[in-house]
């Protein structure tokens, strides 16, 4: 189980939306955070988000200990089971 938290602010909406494209991932809400969860890896395509540089590299608010970020670069954000 992997869980990725993203703060719900206008710049980050596209990130949560892109995450929801993956049928294996579910997007919920806890307080003012989006929670993206999946049994396996969570992969978000940078281009699908249209985020500018600074937003893309600062969009992650938290990653539950059951997972870890294995890629966060110009192409994608990938969180995999730890």
């Amino acid at each position: 189980m992997t869980e990725l938290y993203i703060l719900d602010v206008p710049e980050n909406t596209a990130v949560a939306k892109a995450a929801a494209e993956d049928p294996a991932a579910t997007v919920g809400q806890v307080g003012p955070y989006f929670v993206i969860s999946a049994e396996g890896p969570i992969v978000i395509d940078r281009r699908a988000t249209g985020c500018r540089h600074a937003v893309w590299y600062s969009c992650v608010a938290g990653v539950a200990r059951t997972g870890r970020i294995t890629q966060h670069d110009k192409d994608a954000l990938r969180v995999e089971p730890a």
């Binding site: 869980e3 938290y5 703060l7 719900d8 602010v9 206008p10 710049e11 806890v30 307080g31 003012p32 955070y33 500018r52 600074a54 937003v55 600062s58 992650v60 608010a61 938290g62 990653v63 539950a64 200990r65 870890r68 970020i69």
Partner: protein, 214 residues
């Protein structure tokens, strides 16, 4: 969580040394249009070998001020050997990373994009043109170096800060304090600790001033 009342009212002044008062006045007063609002002409005094000096202030808006010291009879060698990087006060070797050299800087606030671009126009017409214009997460900034080598930023908010960002900032700092109290802090450990704090505190969070849930 602090319960202390918050009484301070912004920056009174921030002060830097200069060895080139002519260029400094040209940059701040003549190029940027920051009025000279105060100056002190002082004979050297005190126990040390203190030179005579001028302490002069420019208004940076909101009654806040940037101030300079010019010490008569001195030159940049006062601060030690010339650095490959940095400014007249902070000198660094060629091997010091640029992100570290630039980390300490002053950013002056403007209200909107129009004002940001007006200062860009003024700088671009001067000897100190804008070196970078960047949209960060929620602010947009222009950067140059002033005549003393000080890294100088003017910035505008692209939108107001939202209440949830205050919550997020508080969680970040609490997570950071937890992580740096342990050996080998990493970004990954911070995000893991922050996830725990989010689960703990975010569900009950309500923006200040919002209606209680019924």
């Amino acid at each position: 969580m602090t319960e202390l009342d918050h009484r301070v009212r912004g920056v009174d002044h921030v002060a830097f040394p200069t060895f080139d008062p002519a260029a400094t006045v040209r940059f701040y007063r003549d190029v940027l249009g920051f009025p000279v609002v105060h100056s002190i002409c002082a004979a050297g005094w005190g126990p040390e070998d203190h030179p005579d000096f001028i302490h002069f202030f420019f208004d940076i808006g909101n009654d806040d001020r940037i101030a300079f010291f010019y010490y008569f009879g001195t030159d940049p060698s006062l601060g030690g050997p010339e650095g490959a990087k940095g400014d007249v006060h902070g000198r660094f070797g060629a091997d010091v990373p640029e992100y570290f050299v630039r980390s300490r800087h002053l950013a002056i606030h403007v209200e909107n994009e129009e004002d940001l671009l007006e200062y860009r126009r003024r700088l671009d017409a001067s000897d100190w043109p804008v070196e970078m214009q960047i949209q960060h997460e929620t602010i947009e900034s222009i950067y140059t170096h002033d005549p003393n080598g000080y890294f100088f930023e003017i910035t505008r908010a692209m939108r107001p800060v939202t209440p949830q960002e205050d919550l997020d900032a508080a969680l970040t700092i609490d997570a950071l304090l937890d992580v740096v109290a342990q050996p080998e802090p990493t970004f990954g450990k911070l995000l893991a600790r922050k996830a725990e704090l989010i689960v703990e505190r975010a569900p009950g969070w309500e923006p200040v001033g919002s209606e209680p849930a019924r």
